[in-house]
Symmetry: C2
Subunit: 361 residues, 2 copies
């Protein structure tokens, strides 16, 4: 198959991360990716990171029956491009949203790229039977490159790389929570969850003009970032005490709550913090299938929306804000490690020593 | 206490409807209402009606431990007004939304009058201990009249009374479903439920500019009204067959679904008929507390909103449309009876011989 560009490694091998089992993360030699389809590109990874959701298999919450490639967030430079790729060239700096989408199906045209009819996942096998690399490695084959990747106009300032990398997932996901909840100028907002996504949700609400943003957090380092991101108030209490604190601060309940955890308790916290007729945006992956209480929704006329963020649709909107310095979501990375130390990165996030870990291949 | 106007009955009695027990509806003599508070009015009922939700106690689905006044929809003429009532005068024609609200609390100011901090219900006892009449009778004391009632600029054409009466509940509720779902010009919409509310939801979607409206209905008389109200397609199938029919008609799933029943099955029908990223508006009172499956919401990025309609907030918006003939929701009344025959009206709705019954006192 024809392609433009060249293979970068001499030995045909790259270093990449594999999860073998619970708490067993290894960086090892794997075959360099090659183009399989004319719509593929191969990207050299400039920066990757570890996601809160990567901790689920790490902790054994979800099983790892056999070793598999891991990681779904990265930015990098196009190294090879299939001959049907039209929107990017070898040498372009690109951002990968955390899912692969075709950009042409009805869901993509509706801006819901995370529900693409041809959705594929990093670290999995595509529908043609070809392996798609995980993103915590040196190179990644990206199928449906035109539908998936977003080109950053170059040259790209190294200092912007962390913030660009957040557009892969956490900033796009935090933004999705705020958009789904309906945050607008003047809104009062409660953010439940102080992980990287919750912090980015604070930043998104601030960017959208919310006048009061209450970050629910019990960790001083995260409270500090939340405040830098625009939180006007911090509430450390949870449950009914947390709701009482919201009432005290706002003189009532919030217009909107953003749920960025994914448990029954966090959803109850979000619902209980919201005024009748208000909106709840949820982006925490439902952990074990909690159910929403219809009667509570009905009685309070809540609007509940959310799910897996259509990062691909949001990146073109958020990218200019990163490039011109309006938002600086890269602050969520409080630990940067070489790729070889990926296992230490997982351990640091697992023990909450780090909010989010950036990996340099 | 000072008041304007005069008592209309000589004997101090009126005829009004009481539910005694399951399937035991009686029209009987009750004391004429009097003003208790300076913010009260007494309204002479011009037309009242029976609600689908009145069938719950009628059928014994909800218990009736002791006889109580029933009915929560009416239009009428102000007969007496407390001296703090400022927005209406004796002789004014008024529409009563199905809940009583103060118009001044934060929820009311947010347009969520059905979550008023001082919400009261027709047929119940107010927080001062005074009885509030049910609406299937000759007269009703309405507390918080300024916050609750909407004056119709007179003179009022008799022919408009049925449509004005629908603003009390079913048309406002159908409109709420469409607004909550986010229906806009060009939307494709599925309406689940062919009762008066479902039919009004069709009319609301049509008024909001939906380009395709699929009414799910198995009854020819209701299908005919749905078509007159703007339904472009009728689907008689339910469950997976119904969803398949939606896919065939639209070449995919709908942008929005409006749920006007309140069962697990109807909510599943609404969710399953909606495209990823679409909106579901629900106004069916959750019957027995169904739960929403979070994982399905997350995976499809559904937006779910709804609840008890803030009719008081919608009436000023919908009233001009009725007055100028843009909408004619009164077509949902397919049986008109004298008040004395209220029991027959309940029986007709219970057996589905009637969609909705109008009562003339």
């Amino acid at each position: 198959m024809a392609f433009r560009g060249r293979l970068m490694s001499e030995d045909g091998l790259m270093r990449a991360t594999t999860i073998y089992a619970e708490r067993d993360i290894r960086v090892e030699d794997l075959p360099d990716p090659v183009l399989h389809l004319p719509t593929d590109v191969v990207v050299r990874v400039v920066a990757a990171c570890i996601c809160g959701s990567d901790l689920w298999p790490y902790r054994g919450v979800t099983p790892t029956p056999r070793p598999r490639a891991i990681g779904h967030e990265f930015v990098g430079v196009v190294e090879q491009a299939g001959d049907e790729v039209s929107t990017m060239s070898v040498g372009d700096f690109v951002i990968a949203p955390f899912t692969i989408s075709d950009g042409t199906c009805p869901a993509c045209r509706n801006g819901m790229t995370s529900a693409c009819e041809n959705l594929e996942s990093f670290g999995a096998t595509d529908r043609h039977g070809f392996h798609i690399d995980g993103c915590q490695g040196q190179r990644v084959r990206v199928p449906r490159a035109d539908g998936t990747l977003v080109v950053v106009p170059g040259p790209v300032d190294d200092a912007l790389v962390p913030s660009l990398l957040t557009l892969s997932d956490v900033m796009s996901t935090g933004y999705h929570a705020a958009i789904a909840a309906g945050v607008t100028a003047g809104s009062s907002v409660v953010v439940v969850g102080d992980g990287a996504v919750g912090l980015c949700a604070v930043l998104a609400a601030s960017h959208l003009g919310a006048s009061r943003i209450i970050a629910m957090s019990r960790h001083e380092d995260r409270q500090a970032i939340a405040t830098r991101f625009g939180a006007t108030d911090i509430v450390a209490e949870r449950g009914d005490d947390g709701i009482a604190a919201v009432r005290r601060l706002l003189g009532g309940l919030a217009d909107h709550s953003l749920e960025a955890v994914g448990t029954d308790q966090s959803m109850a916290q979000a619902l209980g913090s919201t005024r009748p007729g208000g909106g709840i945006g949820f982006v925490g992956v439902p952990n074990g299938g909690p159910q929403l209480p219809m009667r509570q929704l009905f009685d309070n006329n809540y609007r509940v929306a959310g799910g897996m963020a259509p990062a691909r649709a949001y990146i073109p909107e958020l990218l200019p804000l990163v490039l011109d310095g309006t938002i600086d979501p890269g602050q969520v990375f409080d630990l940067t490690l070489p790729l070889e130390d990926a296992a230490e990165g997982y351990a640091a996030m697992d023990s909450r020593r780090a909010i989010k870990v950036l990996l340099h291949p």
